[in-house]
């Protein structure tokens, strides 16, 4: 069972208090976008086997969304950061590189 830090409540939350919102930093494609962009926004996913950036909501607590960086193979979590960030902040990328030397950085 995961145990993820909620940056708003400043405490660890049992997975049963949270709900996952899938891949982070998708760019919303509105009415003017091409069919291809719209398909990539709505359906296409990186689904990496390794480091991913995802969205969580603290449903049973503060009700806020936030992002985390997690490894999908070992469930190691590298940190949580605000929902307003458009891409993973430097500090998170640094934490990842400290323990995963082969990390190739965040890809849009």
């Amino acid at each position: 069972m995961l145990n993820i830090f909620c940056p708003i409540c400043q405490r660890d939350c049992d997975e049963t208090e949270l709900s996952c919102g899938g891949q982070a930093h998708l760019i919303r494609r509105d009415h003017a976008s091409s069919d291809k962009d719209f398909y990539e926004y709505l359906y296409e996913r990186k689904n990496d086997k390794g480091i991913i950036f995802e969205r969580w909501r603290h449903v049973y607590g503060c009700g806020k969304w936030f992002h985390t960086a997690r490894c999908t193979l070992t469930n190691q979590v590298f940190g949580s950061y605000s929902a307003k960030e458009v891409q993973p902040p430097k500090s998170i990328l640094a934490t990842i590189r400290r323990s995963r030397v082969d990390f190739k950085g965040w890809v849009k």
């Binding site: 069972m1 995961l2 997975e15 049963t16 709900s19 996952c20 899938g22 891949q23 069919d35 291809k36 719209f38 398909y39 990539e40 709505l42 359906y43 296409e44 996913r45 990186k46 689904n47 990496d48 086997k49 991913i52 995802e54 997690r70 999908t72 193979l73 070992t74 469930n75």
Partner: protein, 415 residues
């Protein structure tokens, strides 16, 4: 290939069983094949089998990174049914179910297909209406199912808690020719026939690169060297995105853990498969006597082949409510597989942006029941280089066209 039968068992019994041959030959990869199937699970082996059986193509290699049947084929709850709602889903699942009927005889390998029936419970008015709609769709598309009343459900499953009080059973959709099969036997049965056809089955051979020349497939790079091929098909549920990434494109898929558990073996208490979607749990009893229990997938991307205890708890809680007598039975073991979840919970059998590279994935929580049909349709697509009637609805570009095949359609109650 030595034929399996009662007489062959009899003769072998008197010479310490020394006459049995290898079920499938252990091969090292050749330099080149006409077709390479990546993934030695049920779908991959079935694709190779039907390429040989239907189209007489045997210059094929089935390469598996671990041991055949070790992925989701060895981790599912072995349920076989075809009572789907959408016409295109009915097409492929009913084709599978009908192939399962005679698969033991076709493969000369007892896969123990036991059509003991599948029961989909209706525990809300809304679910009852949705199942009635499915039963009409089934009848029109040639699937033998019918709605039955609570009393009949109680007759079929004496241990069920019919009258709630939380969710009284209002009726059920009954498919008498649905049931279960022994999952390992399906993989081994197909492997044995493929090996007999001369198809190379190569285990411990992981794809680590894809060779392309101007967007046309040339071959794959594996841990056992490079192998050339004119056509390659990815059939590796759970790792579809990893392979697609090597080939330079992305899929509308998320890999999540799907867990299941078994109880200790007991004398027979339930004959058919019971699925209770309102409370999210389903259950059947294996021939060995273990209750095989499954439920919903986990909620987050996961390649670790182990899930959260949360889902085991929810599933068991639902089934203890539906079958109170199982409360004192003990959980013997739990495990998890990695399933491909697509946007509309329907599979992908399709060509890909790379010419000559095909893909069969996205089966989500319903892959085992589709093995023969999926193999049949994928073989047809690879041979004709064009998806046939069964496969065409499941192309990748259905998502960009908005042509979703949504099986979770009878969604939550809203009124």
């Amino acid at each position: 290939m030595k034929r399996y039968s009662l007489s062959s068992i009899f003769t072998e019994a008197f010479r310490d069983n020394l006459g049995w041959e290898k079920a499938w030959k252990k091969r090292q990869p050749k330099k080149e094949y006409q077709i390479i199937i990546v993934g030695g699970g049920g779908h991959g082996l079935a694709t190779a089998y039907y390429l040989a059986k239907n189209f007489n193509v045997t210059d094929i290699a089935v390469i598996e990174k671990g041991w055949i049947g070790g992925g989701n084929t060895g981790r599912n709850t072995t349920i076989i049914r075809s009572n789907y709602l959408q016409e295109s889903s009915i097409g492929i699942y009913e084709k599978s179910r009908s192939l399962y009927e005679t698969l033991s005889q076709d493969l000369n390998y007892n896969i123990m297909f036991s059509p003991r029936g599948v029961l989909m419970l209706c525990q809300t008015e809304h679910e009852l209406r949705a199942m009635k709609r499915t039963s009409h769709a089934n009848r029109i598309n040639g699937v033998d199912t019918k709605m039955i009343a609570p009393e009949e459900v109680k007759e079929l499953v004496p241990i069920i808690n019919i009258n709630g009080p939380r969710f009284p059973v209002l009726g059920a959709l009954w498919q008498p020719r649905g049931g279960t099969a022994r999952h390992d036997a399906v993989a081994w049965g197909y492997a044995r026939k493929c090996s007999d056809f001369g198809i190379d089955i190569i285990e411990q051979c992981e794809v680590i690169g894809v060779k392309k020349k101007r967007e046309k497939i040339v071959g794959v790079e594996t841990t056992k060297g490079n192998i050339k091929a004119k056509k390659v098909c990815f059939v590796a549920a759970g790792h579809s995105s990893v392979l697609a990434d090597l080939a330079g494109f992305r899929l509308p898929i998320e890999s999540v853990a799907l867990q299941a558990l078994v109880s200790e073996p007991i004398k027979p208490i339930i004959d058919c498969v019971v699925m209770a979607n309102t409370v999210h749990g389903y259950l059947s009893q294996s021939d060995k006597g273990e209750l095989v229990i499954g439920g919903g997938a986990d909620g987050y991307n996961n390649y670790s082949q182990r899930g959260s205890f949360l889902h085991i708890e929810e599933t068991v809680r639902a089934l203890v409510e539906t079958f109170p007598v199982i409360s004192r039975l003990r959980q013997l073991r739990q495990w998890g597989g990695i399933v491909d979840m697509t946007g509309d919970r329907s599979p992908i059998i399709s060509k890909t942006p790379v010419d000559g590279l095909y893909i069969n994935c996205g089966w989500g929580t319903g892959g085992f029941k589709a093995i023969p049909g999926s193999g049949w349709a994928t073989a047809e697509m690879i041979y004709n280089e064009q998806p046939g009637k069964l496969a065409s609805p499941f192309s990748i570009n259905r998502f960009s066209e908005g042509r979703l095949i949504d099986e979770s359609a009878a969604a939550a109650v809203a009124h």
